[in-house]
């Protein structure tokens, strides 16, 4: 599904190498988690994959189902099936959440040469999906993320994910700023979207999210590289001993 090979990335504005040769393959139907200390390059990886400005790829490649992601505009990557759930979802005053969702869904359909979804079908679909995420109708009417609590913002991200039905989902620190109940709600939403054709890359500091979204593979990232890969037990090891042991072990 997602294949990253020897990815090297530096900041565009300054001569600072962030990613120093990332190799990672996420298969369809699998959930991969990336853990790592602050500054290890986890969020940068998510931004580079989704096409944010400010980064320069100096070497390596990233493909989604064999298609080169790095050559595409952010909107083209989205239409190709990539989705990033933001760590800090952006507030957009004056644009209704519903308008935003429908614009996004139809833009992707159009880009793929599919027919636009009718207003009635869309409304039905969004209401059903929102209900499973415990998003009330009032939240759909409000401007995008404006005045949403931390939990509401993250649920709104998952709602978008559900509506856009991507092939590959990247969750960037989705657990940050959430209490236990909110995290469970978000995790349930993600779990409901797991299926054989969809890959997940869950970026997190802490093991606790992985109690709710059970990963198939766990990677430890440090200093711009994946330094260790293992099963779910690796996340527990981090939880119990911190990163220091693992990092000194691979150093």
């Amino acid at each position: 599904m997602l294949q990253i090979k020897n990815l090297h990335v530096k900041l565009e504005e300054e001569d600072k190498q962030i990613l120093k040769g990332v190799d990672l393959t996420v298969e369809a139907g699998k959930v991969h988690a990336i853990m790592g200390p602050n500054g290890s390059g986890k969020s940068t990886l998510s931004y580079v994959l989704s096409g944010k400005d400010g980064y320069e790829v100096t070497d390596g490649s990233a493909t989604l189902e064999g298609v080169d992601l790095l050559e595409m505009e952010p909107e083209e990557r989205a239409a190709a099936g990539l989705f990033l759930a933001f760590q800090y979802p952006v507030e957009i005053p004056g644009v209704g959440n519903m308008t935003f969702l429908r614009t996004a869904v139809n833009a992707q359909r159009k880009a793929r040469g599919e027919e636009e979804i009718s207003a009635a079908d869309f409304l039905k679909l969004v209401r059903e999906t929102a209900k499973t995420l415990k998003i009330d109708a009032e939240m759909l009417k409000r401007p995008v993320n404006v005045g949403f609590s931390g939990g509401e913002k993250k649920r709104n991200e998952i709602l978008q994910m559900a509506m856009l039905a991507p092939k590959m989902c990247i969750l960037d620190e989705t657990d940050s700023g959430l209490d236990v109940d909110a995290m469970k709600l978000v995790a349930d939403g993600v779990n409901a979207l797991r299926n054989e054709g969809r890959g997940f890359l869950v970026i997190t500091h802490y093991q606790r999210l992985l109690d709710h979204i059970k990963p198939d593979v766990v990677h430890i990232m440090a200093n711009g590289r994946i330094v260790k890969t293992g099963g779910p037990e690796l996340a527990l090891e981090v939880e119990n001993n911190g990163y220091a042991d693992i990092l000194s072990e691979v150093a």
Binding site: S50, G51, K52, D53, E73, P74, E75, R77, A78, A79, F83, L84, F86, P89, V90, I92, P93, G94, V95, T99, F100, T103, A104, V105, A107, Q108, A111, P143, Q160, L164
Partner: protein, 432 residues
């Protein structure tokens, strides 16, 4: 240039302009006001770009004896507010078109042509014609273009609301001649407890001068929604001069699309306690041939009044926006609540926004705030939308609408607001 050197130039310009104009005949009681206005123009001279009041907008083409031509814009959109039941009053290049207009009858409202009202010996309009325009209660700024209008505008409407108007009145300004030079002067009186909504739509003329004097009595409510038309080469100088009585309401919103030069002046005086004045505007301009100027003065001269100014400008490809505005709180105008915000969204480096926001306060128990910002599209928000699959152009449009939202929200009537929003979306998708 010193004031002593400037004044002769201004008087000279006035003489040149006046030579091409004649006072309307048969103007009845208005004759006196017109002559008074004429002598004011002769004394003040006409504006010059060295005037502080015209610091950011060159008035030369508004002052010139002959109006520059303006090509007609072929609009493929239907008339604005077409689905809304309203009394349509049509002016073609500044001349009333009876055939194209509805009957001037409306429950709760008296509507007349200015020229008809002038011939009646006793008329309420006599007390405000040229009076609100000339009051100059604050800052002692000369406004000779408004005085010129008072002297020479032969046409216009005179509206008196005595109750709640059953539907809005729509002044429709059609532009059909490339060389039209039009002046209109409207008078509005909203009586005690009455309620009127006035709509103004259309490009009006190649060069358009309009003065509207609005007198809102105690407890009256005046709602004003205006859309200035799409013709790129048109020029306009408009002035709204309002006086508000006790517990009255004045709410005005203007949307401006295109125009090589637009200067909209709004002067509101809150003269009765507990009055409310909201003045808002949004404009979208594309290209070096766009210059839009909002000049607003709100004077608080009573206790516990509220005023609010919200102005938003979207500028791209070298367009220019101007905002100069003041909240003046007179001695004794305690408990004043004044707010003023002006913001521009600059979509490229060539566009510019010039702002001169001012507060002048002579009372000690007031709450006034003002702010002015210029900014580009928020890159974070743009990336967020694009990451959801929205192409960059469409995402920029969404963020542009988001930016203008706060100003559009000033339109209270939801149908009017929706029509305006649709028109704005149309402008964005047509790219000018």
């Amino acid at each position: 240039m010193s004031a002593t050197k400037l004044q002769p130039l201004k008087v000279e310009a006035a003489e040149a302009r006046l030579a091409a104009l004649t006072l309307p005949e048969g103007a009845g009681w208005a004759t006196e006001a017109r002559k008074a206005a004429l002598s004011r123009v002769a004394a003040m001279g006409l504006p010059h770009r060295r005037d502080e009041y015209w610091k950011y907008t060159d008035p030369a083409s508004l002052v010139a004896a002959e109006a520059p031509k303006a090509a007609l814009f072929h609009n493929d959109e239907g008339p604005l507010f077409d689905a809304i039941d309203r009394v349509k009053i049509v002016f073609v290049d500044g001349v009333f078109d009876a055939a194209a207009s509805d009957d001037l009858t409306l429950t709760g409202v008296e509507i007349e042509r200015l020229s008809d009202a002038c011939t009646k010996d006793i008329h309420w309009a006599k007390d405000i014609y040229g009076v609100l325009e000339a009051r100059n209660a604050q800052s002692k700024v000369d406004r000779p273009l408004a005085a010129l209008n008072t002297a020479f505008a032969a046409d216009g409407v005179v509206i008196r609301a005595t109750g709640k108007a059953s539907k809005p009145i729509n002044l429709i300004y059609l532009h059909k001649s490339e060389s039209s030079d039009a002046m209109l002067h409207h008078l509005v009186r909203v009586e005690v407890g009455a309620d009127l909504t006035l709509l103004e739509t259309g490009p009006a003329a190649a060069r358009f001068s309009k003065v509207m004097e609005v007198d809102v009595a105690d407890g009256g409510a005046f709602h004003h929604v205006r859309a200035q038309g799409r013709d790129h080469e048109r020029r306009a100088v408009t002035g709204t001069y309002a006086r508000l009585g006790k517990e009255s309401t004045f709410k005005s919103f203007t949307m401006t699309f295109n125009g090589v030069l637009t200067r909209n002046e709004t002067l509101v005086e809150l003269t009765g306690d507990d009055a409310v004045a909201h003045v808002a505007g949004a404009c979208v301009g594309d290209g070096k041939d766009f210059h839009h100027d909002d000049t607003v003065f709100v004077t608080h001269d009573a206790v516990n009044c509220e005023s609010r100014q919200v102005f938003k400008k979207v500028l791209r490809n070298g367009a220019t926006g101007v905002f100069q505005a003041k909240i003046l709180v007179q001695p004794g105008a305690q408990k004043t609540d004044g707010y003023q915000i002006s913001q521009s969204l600059l979509l490229d480096e060539d566009s510019q926004f010039l702002a001169k926001p001012e507060l002048e306060i002579y009372a000690d128990d007031v709450a006034c705030s003002h702010g002015s910002t210029s900014g580009a599209i928020d890159e974070e928000a743009l990336f967020y939308l694009r990451s959801r699959g929205v192409p960059v152009a469409e995402a920029t449009d969404l963020l542009t609408l988001s930016f203008l939202g706060e100003a559009l929200e000033e339109i209270e009537d939801e149908r009017l607001a929706q029509d305006m929003l649709d028109r704005l979306s149309g402008w964005l998708s047509r790219r000018r």
